[in-house]
Subunit: 197 residues, 2 copies
DNA sequence: GTCTATATCATGATAGAC
DNA sequence: GTCTATCATGATATAGAC
């Protein structure tokens, strides 16, 4: 965070890190590029050199976080066979991430990107969400999940857990999410499962 | 919309109606008070006279819509006995409202109010959401809903339906919501119900 | 209560030295 | 690649006549 400690800090990283904090704390529109520069200890000229314009900052942030999510889901899908295990592991990991990196989670799935990233479609149409629907789709062909529209199944399976996350980020839910993973997952799976345990 | 048709249009109504459209189409921060005035056919001076400042417009909008939601839930709770019937009716009505008044729904449960209404807490802590939790709580004491934390039960019951609504508002879901009410409600209720039908 | 005209100021973005 | 200084625009909000 300071050039005294680290002689050659990566400007791009510094900027993105500060931007994430400010965007989630005050919102994109209440954050000026000057604010970001001040928080990152980087001049406004450098920022425009690296990102082109303000939207470029949000864009880079979205790409990076989206990539991480995608990688996470890919890893989970390789490690588990059943849709049940895959989805459960995903919810568990998202709950952990909500506690350890609340700002990253907030920016990814609780920001209204359409308002400041006209290029990007809605989050739900981004690659990570596509992968989640694939997960559900396979579970349906395997017979783990009742036959129904894939979009509906996916939304109903992950809807509860995702709203737990936004509730937690809002401070409406006070308990750390991993503490209620079992209860929430139980509800989520019952919603779509073929057999009740 | 025009003073030719109606000789004495209510300025407040005109402004709020235009503001709702613009806020949901472009977002709060990309809408200027001038824009609202132009769309409503009202001068900027009048707007400031009635609402004090820009935030006052959003505030009035939120109060009014929140009041309508509250009334809707109250009516539903009076008309049905069981939590099952109450919650199902609520989801049905919200699905209908999403089709008939998408902007109202979008402003109520898909806008990040914290970013432009610092006074208001998060939506989930507003009165309508409180009433929904009461609904669930009663269902639990009646034995309709499995015993668990009320917040978790409420989030898991309504999480799927609410995300269907945001998905529909985003255009990710193309089917009118009332068409998939049964499938969605089936999932939602299974998530928390004591007995599976 | 409604209007026009205006004050004030912050922001996104650029220029150009180093 | 980084910096400072500056521009240009457009926004919120106000003043004051009617």
């Amino acid at each position: 965070m300071n050039s005294v400690l680290s002689p050659r800090p990566d400007t791009r990283y510094l900027v993105l890190d500060s931007a994430l904090t400010l965007f989630t704390e005050r919102g994109y529109f209440s954050t000026s590029v000057h604010d970001i520069g001040r928080a990152a200890g980087v001049s406004i000229g450098s920022i425009y050199h690296h990102f082109g314009d303000k939207e470029g900052i949000a864009d880079a942030l979205f790409s990076q976080l989206s990539g991480r999510m995608e990688a996470l889901i890919g890893e989970i899908r390789r490690r588990h066979d059943s849709a049940h295990d895959q989805a459960r592991e995903l919810v568990a990991r998202l709950f952990e991430l909500t506690e350890s990196e609340p700002r990253a989670m907030e920016f990814m799935l609780y920001a209204k990107h359409r308002e400041f990233l006209p290029g990007q479609g809605p989050v739900c149409s981004s690659r990570p969400f596509e992968l989640m629907r694939e997960m559900v789709s396979q579970g349906m062909t395997r017979g783990e999940i009742r036959p129904m529209d894939t979009m509906i199944a996916s939304t109903c399976l992950f809807g509860g857990p995702l709203r737990m996350i936004t509730g937690r980020l809002d401070g409406v839910i006070t308990q750390p999410l991993p503490d209620c993973l079992e209860a929430v997952w139980d509800c989520a799976w019952r919603a779509v499962a073929t057999t009740t345990p």
